[in-house]
Each structure stands twice: as structure tokens, then as C-alpha cells.
Symmetry: C2
Subunit: 224 residues, 2 copies
């Protein structure tokens, strides 16, 4: 398909409004932000905002989706063999999430907007969960099921999924505390790979605890 000059201008304007809206919403929150300020910052007019997004609520929804939709650069199957084992798929999942979450190229407003949304969820979160988070959670749950057995109780599968994703998210959302607590922890690409290895190893061992073979044995409450 040929891209015309007008198409390019439209895409540019749309992207500029999205970025400006992200910054303004992250600074002021959904309610206090005004479309006027967003237009000024994006050097776009109100008609352009209406054309691309409709109203303020739909603009916010698009911005929030953009925040959670940053994994394209780090697809979940990067370098994965089609015959990959569940362990390899787990490692690829963890790698994709850690690199995506800790990507130095991410705009600062992503983190701020996500933090705001977690502290004071808006109606837009429902769509983000359904369209973006649920499919990823289901992918991880499928890997967990492959590892601990398809007869595992749904609540156990969920808890294991939470244990894995919680380890990844920690490095993102507690970053200012981590940087102050552990001066050795950096966020360069070279520092991320050891975290991928650690979270994978820790999680595989944690999951093993719940495999059917283990369930007959004494639980790991007393130390060997």
C-alpha cells in the first residue's frame, strides 16, 4: 500500500497527540487534565484530537493502551524454536517482560501513568485488562500448567502465575527503592540478563514444588 503525504501527516499528528496526552495525563491525572493543554503541547487543534480519538475519555483509553502495549519490541517468542519446551517458553516470557519493563527508551510518563492507574483505576482499565493483560496472563498460565500439570487447581495455577509476574514487575515498580537499597543494581541491558536467569531458575524451582510427583512428598516446610 502506498503511503501518501497526507497519511504520514495524519500518523504524525496522531502520535504527537498521543505522546502529549500521555505526559499531561501522567502529570495531572485523568480528571484534572484538559484536552486544551494536550492540544497546546501537541501543537494540534481540537478538530485533530476529535478526528483521531473522539473525546477525552477515548483519548485516555488510547494512551493507557499505549502504556501497556510496549512489548512489540520484545515479542514473547523472540528466538524461540517452534518446538521449545515449557521451560524455554517460561524463560522467553520472563525475558520479554523484563526487557520490556526495564527498557531505557520508554517515555517517563509510561511509569507515572501506570502507577496512577493502579492507585486510582479508571473505566479504561477494563478494556486494557481484557485486550492486553488477560491474553498475556493466559499465555503464562498455559506455561505454568504445562510445568505443574494440567490437573493443578486453578487457584494454584493463578498463584504461581502471580509469583512469576510479581518478581518481574518488582524491578520496574520499586526501582527508586532498589536503586537506593542496592547500589550494585543497574538497569543496563547487561544487568537484565542475570535477572532473567535468576527469576527463571527461582520460578522453575518454585513451580517444581507443585508438580504431581511432589505432591505425595512432604512439602518444603522443613529444610533438608
Amino acid at each position: 500500500m502506498k503511503t501518501t503525504g497526507t497519511d504520514r501527516t495524519r500518523t504524525d499528528t496522531r502520535q504527537r497527540v498521543l505522546e502529549a496526552a500521555g505526559e499531561v495525563f501522567a502529570e495531572r491525572g485523568f480528571r484534572a487534565a484538559t484536552v486544551r493543554e494536550i492540544c497546546q503541547r501537541a501543537k494540534a487543534n481540537l478538530a485533530a484530537v476529535n478526528y483521531h480519538f473522539g473525546d477525552k475519555e477515548r483519548l485516555y483509553a488510547a494512551v493507557l493502551q499505549d502504556t501497556f502495549h510496549c512489548a512489540e519490541k520484545y515479542p514473547l517468542d523472540r528466538g524461540l524454536d517452534p518446538e521449545a519446551t515449557a521451560e524455554e517458553r517460561l524463560q522467553a516470557f520472563i525475558r520479554s517482560h523484563l526487557y520490556s519493563l526495564l527498557d531505557a527508551g520508554r517515555p517517563a510518563w509510561h511509569g507515572k501513568l501506570m502507577a496512577r492507574e493502579m492507585a486510582e483505576p479508571t473505566r479504561a482499565l477494563d478494556a486494557v485488562v481484557d485486550q492486553m493483560i488477560r491474553p498475556e496472563a493466559e499465555l503464562l498460565m498455559a506455561i505454568v500448567r504445562d510445568l505443574i500439570g494440567h490437573d493443578a487447581a486453578p487457584q494454584r495455577v493463578w498463584q504461581c502465575t502471580a509469583s512469576i509476574i510479581g518478581q518481574c514487575l518488582f524491578y520496574h515498580h520499586a526501582r527508586p527503592v532498589i536503586m537506593r537499597l542496592n547500589l550494585e543494581q543497574t538497569y543496563t541491558p547487561e544487568a537484565i540478563e542475570p535477572l532473567v536467569d535468576h527469576v527463571t531458575q527461582f520460578s522453575l524451582a518454585g513451580l517444581r514444588q507443585f508438580t504431581p510427583a511432589r505432591q505425595g512428598e512432604a512439602r518444603c516446610t522443613s529444610w533438608p
Copy 2:
């Protein structure tokens, strides 16, 4: 020590200012919040704020400390035998943190202020980390060392500590997503104990992976 009426009034005023400041800072952020609005909401005068806290920066520091200092109700050694094993101390640590983080009685502004501070740290975070977070992190690191061996590399001890605390924090900071993803997950006190058990079991198994006895064996990258 006898508490006089004046002492009580002072404590009341201090507490009222602290609560009002917490709400205002959580809503507007440190920079945009004004001491004037805080005084109005607390029904206190400027002299009282100055008397108890000094300036806006010190008031904010006190509020932030209050946010992180909520574990008094759930002491780390609750019900712990002085002879408790490292496994029991780990479970007590996880229990104390999960109950404290998920306490339904916590003011809503705690979560908002913490999220703001993680997204845009202020100078007050340094003191909170040094005085409140570091001692708890060191306590957990000591438990981890008791479990994986005192010869473990410091970076490994740190990563294991992060894996444990990350699992606990997830239920707090991703709560709006969790409530939408997993309709079975509630936050009643009865729902927290199974999480304590899960995080403890998952973590003990994860830590076991790094005990000296295991280090000679093949790592848990291939599934049994």
C-alpha cells in the same frame, strides 16, 4: 507518664494534620500541594503545622514515613518462638508483609502516595529507605542467608530477597488488575492466609535451588 489534656490535643492535631496532608499530597503530588489546603482540610492553623512539622518538605517526609510505617499492627515476629527456624521466620516475614500491605483498614491515600513516590521519587525517599526499608530488607536478607548459606554471593542473596518481596508487593500494587483478571481473588483476611502459604512454599523451593548442596547438581533448567 501521665498524659495531660494538652498532650492529647497536640497528638490529635498532629494526627489530623498528618492525615489531611496525606490526602492532599496523594491527590496533588508534593509540588502542587499547598500547606494552606492541608490546614483547611485538617481544620488546623499554619502555626500548628509549623510547630509539629516545620515546613512543607518536612511535613511530606513525615507523611511518607507514615505510609511505609504501617507494619506495627503486624509485627514481624508475631507468634514467633525465640527458637524459630529460618523457614518459620521466612513465613512470619511474608505473613506480616502481606497482612500489612493488604490491610483493609489502610487509608486509601497510602497506596496513592506510594505509587506517586515510586513514579516520581522526592528527596524524602532517601530517609524512608534508610530508616524503614533497609532494616526490613536486611532482616529478610539475613533469613535468606540462613537458608541458602552464608557463603552465597551478595548479588544472589539480593536477587532472592527481591523474588520474595516482589511476590508480596504484587498483590498490593497490581490489585486493580488482579481483581479484574481473577474474580476469585478477594482480599478478606481469610483470603490472605492461602497467599502466605503459597508465597512461602514457592519461595522456599526457589531458595533451595541455591543451597550449596544443590550447586554441584544440574540446575533446574531441564524438567524432571
